[in-house]
Amino acid sequence: MPDLDANLQAPARLKLMTMLTAVSEAEFATLRDRLDVSDSVLSKHIAALASSDYVKSRKGVHIGRRTTWISLTAHGRAALNAHVAAMREIIASVVEES
């Protein structure tokens, strides 16, 4: 069984990390709206990912209001790549069996 990253098994976290690969950083509200989750749910996911050094956040200003900008770390990018590769192995194993 390939090694899956327990931190990334929640679909919302996988989506969040995958979206962050496309940008240098994203504003909290943008991610919340794209993921269609509440502020508190997104905050929890970000806190969990930040504690594993997968993402980092910084305070900033967006359209005149204080907000938080989130970006992927190099460690997070590597972890995501490894997790996606492990998931592809799981998918491929079924194809090989059939």
Partner: protein, 191 residues
């Protein structure tokens, strides 16, 4: 709303894994496809580059104080347009895309930097030869090529955002900007 899989720590079935990967990729595609450029983005960048090449060429070819000021004004106008459009992009989309800043606006893509160097070189030569009509054409060609290179980058980015999104770091861009500025100062001093 979170799905049941949020709390599932065991290995997903192949179908779950395929669905999760597909959902994640769809989310990323929707994010990148939904990015909107500010109004007059390409035309303003192209016009600013055209003006910058023309003023730089005149500033280098003409030995007069006003020509030096024209060169500085061209650089300042480009910096202002670039900064404004990047700020507008970030405000509109709630994201910062380093690749857009570097490759499209600041011209670090191979095609835009090559076309810019060629256009500037040709425009400066035309200025020294008093061929002002040719200087204008070279400047315009440089601006158009720069813009087309930017459009091309955006297409490539949308096909593979993970590879092209980050671009150069802020430090690398600052370093390149400093080198370009120093080079221009030496050209002005040494003319």
């Amino acid at each position: 709303m979170l799905s049941n899989m949020e709390n599932m720590m065991g290995a997903p079935t192949p179908d779950d894994a395929a669905a999760a990967l597909n959902d994640a990729e769809v989310s990323r595609t929707q994010l990148t496809d939904g990015l909107m450029l500010p109004s007059f983005f390409y035309i303003s960048i192209g016009a600013a580059v055209t003006a910058q090449i023309a003023t730089a060429a005149v500033g280098l070819a003409v030995r007069a104080n006003w020509a030096q000021w024209l060169l500085i004004a061209g650089l300042a106008a480009f910096a202002l347009v670039a900064a404004l459009q990047l700020i507008r992009f970030r405000r509109r989309n709630g994201v910062w895309v380093g690749g857009l800043a570097g490759r499209v606006v600041l011209g670090t893509a191979t095609t835009s930097s090559l076309s810019y160097a060629l256009a500037l070189g040709a425009a400066v030569w035309a200025g020294f030869e008093d061929l002002w009509w040719l200087l204008a054409i070279c400047s315009l060609a440089g601006g158009v090529a720069y813009t087309l290179s930017g459009r091309r980058w955006l297409r490539i980015y949308r096909q593979d955002p993970a590879t092209h999104g980050r671009g150069e770091s802020a430090w690398q861009l600052a370093g390149l900007g400093a080198v370009a500025l120093i080079g221009m100062v030496f050209l002005v001093i040494g003319r």
